[in-house]
Amino acid sequence: MSRYGGGNISNASGGNRSQIAELFVKKILAHLDDTDPQKLNQFLNLFNSNNCKVVFNATPFAQLPLFLQMWQNQIVQTQHALTAVDYHVIPGSQTVIFNVNCKVRFDESGKDKMGQDATVSPGEQKLQHQKHRPANRPLWGTYFGVSLQLVVEERLFSNDMNGVILAFNYNMIYKPDDSLITVN
């Protein structure tokens, strides 16, 4: 009949599948928003180590660690908000395709994920300044729109999340005029 499958779509565990799907996507977004470099490895564990495609704003990354390094070192703190999730289990392939939409905003305080900013200050003034500053509170800018597609192994639904992500396609779809962050 068709090359991609003989299996039926099982509704047996349909009940909590959507919940797992949504939780899984939320988990990924939370990882993206994390500023702690120590937790990077946990994020890495979600991706298939041998064979994972990563595309960010229509630019492919040859290796996943390169993408995560870029995300950690060259992008300021983010905050993602999930707005839509849908998924299809592709019969016979043991994979699930996700279509996700979310919003993301960036810390526009001028500090990177490590809390360092670009000011060149005469030492004394800076020390004094830092003492009175609330501890690295981000100044969120305006939301950008994001469309995210994921290919994930079906064993996700039996709560096995180790190396399940096979493809990750993250693209910005709209951008506000009033953000300090430039994407083009």
């Binding site: 068709s2 991609y4 499958g5 299809h88 019969p91 709209y174 994407v183």
Partner: protein, 598 residues
């Protein structure tokens, strides 16, 4: 220097100026009808009102509201009326003393503008001999009133590309008189306010979150610079300030890495080159059928294929260009399978369509649409990844469509739909079903078969319309998007060939997609199909109306002149075909070789 008198004269000036905004225009070649017929025809077709029409010889003259209206009217040159092609002209709109003042200020702006350094020098205005002579800047109060006027004039002059502004030596006590600078030049990079009397931070607060690109600020010789918070306040107000009073205050490299993404937005990604052409073919054909007759898509779906839509009703921020702040999702909500919003597991299962029949039903429950892949390719973005687990690939397309008609089927009346009585008990109205533009993200999982392809999975997000993140401002965009080229016309010189129905061949071939009606146009807009050799710069083309484009095309094909010369010929002949052809025949022997298509 009678200062108090000037305030009144400026009010009068402002009034006269609004009167003076109207522009005198003339219309030629109208003689076969009455003036009233002409006016009715024009207001009906161009939507531009001409007032005070009088006949002056062969001309009808009158006034339009503004320069913009006049310019818009010029684009209608050559429109047919009563058997003739009308010709419009802008007549002298600079008469009277007040427009002389505008002229004077304009001249002043250009005198103070240095195109090379992109700098507008508005320093020491009250000492400018011309302005003093006119009594315009004789006191601080009049000066601050004239500044907004100057800014308004400056913003209407596209030739003034300003990166730096000098406002030194203007006796400014605060910036309240010059705040409009931020509206006129929001992208300003350098600003000099030296030698003024600015003393308080408060007054600068109006510029907070403005001037996002301000790199250098000079405030020397202002009392404010003695404040011990001066430096940190300036850093706070201007987030991208690098140099303050000739001292480096921020590490520019670090600043750039903080405020820009390391990866620039691209419009297309294809995992391999052959995926590029076959997937553009697929998407083009698919959307053509989607727009014209969705039943033709049915052969692409097998009994195991799945389709669902998901409504992302979250509102884009109002600062997203062209964003629809009042979207309506009435036709989609009952089908939406957005599992982060729909809580009922039963609905989630019902809203997944599996197999050709249910999928076609869903298709018919969605509004009829028109996509603009051909005529506005820049507004679509696509990624294609291989999908080894099924020996296929994944195409994701982001873009927009117009809703043209309500759905063929009413999803709400389906027996499987949610119960109507409960759902629409309160506050249901028809404005939820308004047709409008929508943005979308659509992902197809494609499996090539011997004969063509099948769609294993088809996931679509519907969201409020916004302009796209990857769209760059017009002056930067490059008109060579792959989507356009993959379907552009082939053949050179001859008459415009009808667009071939693409997709009959290609690596993944989509024979099942052949529309039953071979005459189905790929490009259904009223914009005339231009000959492939007539390549107009996009900014020129966007300023022309369909009639003009058609005329250009006709002239181009008749004369074999290249695009530039065709345009010149059309313009010189007032967009009249006969005049143009006459002119061409007169001068054809004197034209250089490079004037023709090579």
């Amino acid at each position: 220097m009678s200062g108090y008198h000037n305030v009144n004269s400026i009010n009068a000036l402002a009034q006269q100026q609004s009167q003076q905004n109207r522009v005198k225009v003339g219309v030629r070649n109208w003689q076969n009808a009455t003036v009233q017929d002409l006016m009715n025809f024009l207001s009906r077709n161009t939507r531009i009102a001409i007032t005070g029409a009088t006949v002056e010889g062969p001309l009808v003259t009158g006034f339009v509201q503004s320069r913009a209206d006049a310019d818009a009217l010029m684009k209608w040159n050559g429109i047919r009326f009563a058997g003739n092609n009308l010709k419009f002209e802008i007549l002298d709109d600079a008469n009277g003393a007040t427009s002389n003042t505008i002229l004077l200020l304009k001249n002043f702006l250009y005198r103070r503008y240095n195109a090379q350094t992109k700098m507008l020098d508005l320093g020491n205005l009250h000492a400018d001999p011309d302005l003093v002579q006119k009594g315009l800047f004789s006191s601080i109060s009049t000066q601050s009133k004239m500044f907004p006027a100057l800014m308004k004039l400056a913003s209407k002059e596209p030739q003034l590309v300003v990166e730096s502004v000098n406002l030194s030596d203007n006796n400014l006590k605060d910036v309240s008189g010059v705040t409009t600078l931020a509206q006129t030049f929001p992208r300003l990079k350098n600003l000099c306010l030296a030698n003024n009397q600015i003393s308080r931070f408060r007054t600068l607060e109006v510029w907070k979150n403005k001037f996002k690109d301000l790199r250098e600020l000079l405030m020397t010789n202002n009392p404010i610079t003695n404040d011990k918070l001066y430096r940190s306040e300036m850093l706070r107000l201007f987030p991208k300030l690098v140099i303050l009073d000739n001292v480096v205050v921020r590490d520019e490299q670090k600043l750039n890495s903080i405020y820009s993404l390391p990866v620039k937005l691209q419009q297309f990604f294809f995992e391999s080159n052959d995926l590029g052409s076959s997937s553009t073919d697929f998407v083009t054909n698919f959307l053509n059928c989607w727009d014209s007759d969705r039943t033709q898509l049915l052969p692409l779906y097998t009994p195991q294929s799945q389709f669902s839509i998901s409504v992302d009703s979250s509102m884009p921020p109002s600062s997203v260009p062209d964003s629809d702040q009042n979207p309506s999702f009435g036709y989609y909500l009952s089908l939406s399978r957005n599992v982060s919003k729909v809580s009922s597991e039963k609905s989630i299962q019902q809203r997944l369509s599996v197999g050709p029949e249910p999928i076609l039903n869903s298709f018919k429950s969605l509004p009829k649409t028109k996509h603009h892949l051909q005529d506005r390719p820049d507004e679509y973005c696509m990624e294609v990844l291989s999908f080894p687990q099924i020996s296929g690939f994944i195409i994701t397309l982001h873009g927009f469509f117009e809703e043209t008609e309500k759905p063929e089927l009413d999803a709400l009346s389906k027996p499987t739909g949610t119960t109507r009585s409960r759902r629409f008990n309160h506050g249901h109205n028809t404005s939820n079903n308004r047709l409008s533009k929508k943005s979308f993200d659509r992902t197809w999982v494609i499996v090539p078969t011997g004969a063509g392809v099948i769609v294993a999975s088809d996931l679509m997000t519907i969201r409020p319309y916004t302009s796209a993140a990857w769209v760059t401002p017009p002056h930067q965009s490059i008109p060579n998007a792959p989507i356009a080229s993959s379907t552009s016309l082939t053949g050179s010189g001859g008459s415009p060939v009808p667009p071939p129905v693409a997709g009959s061949t290609g690596p993944i071939g989509v024979p099942v997609l052949q529309p039953s009606n071979p005459a189905m146009p790929l490009n259904g807009t009223p914009v005339p199909q231009l000959a492939p050799t007539l390549q107009l710069p996009p900014d020129v083309q966007s300023n022309l109306n369909p009639i003009q484009l058609e005329l250009l095309n006709k002239l181009h094909l008749q004369t074999k002149l290249n695009a530039e010369f065709t345009y010149m010929l059309a313009e010189q002949s007032g967009w009249t075909y006969d005049v143009a052809m006459e002119g061409f025949q007169r001068s054809v022997n004197n034209l250089p070789r490079e004037a023709f298509i090579q």
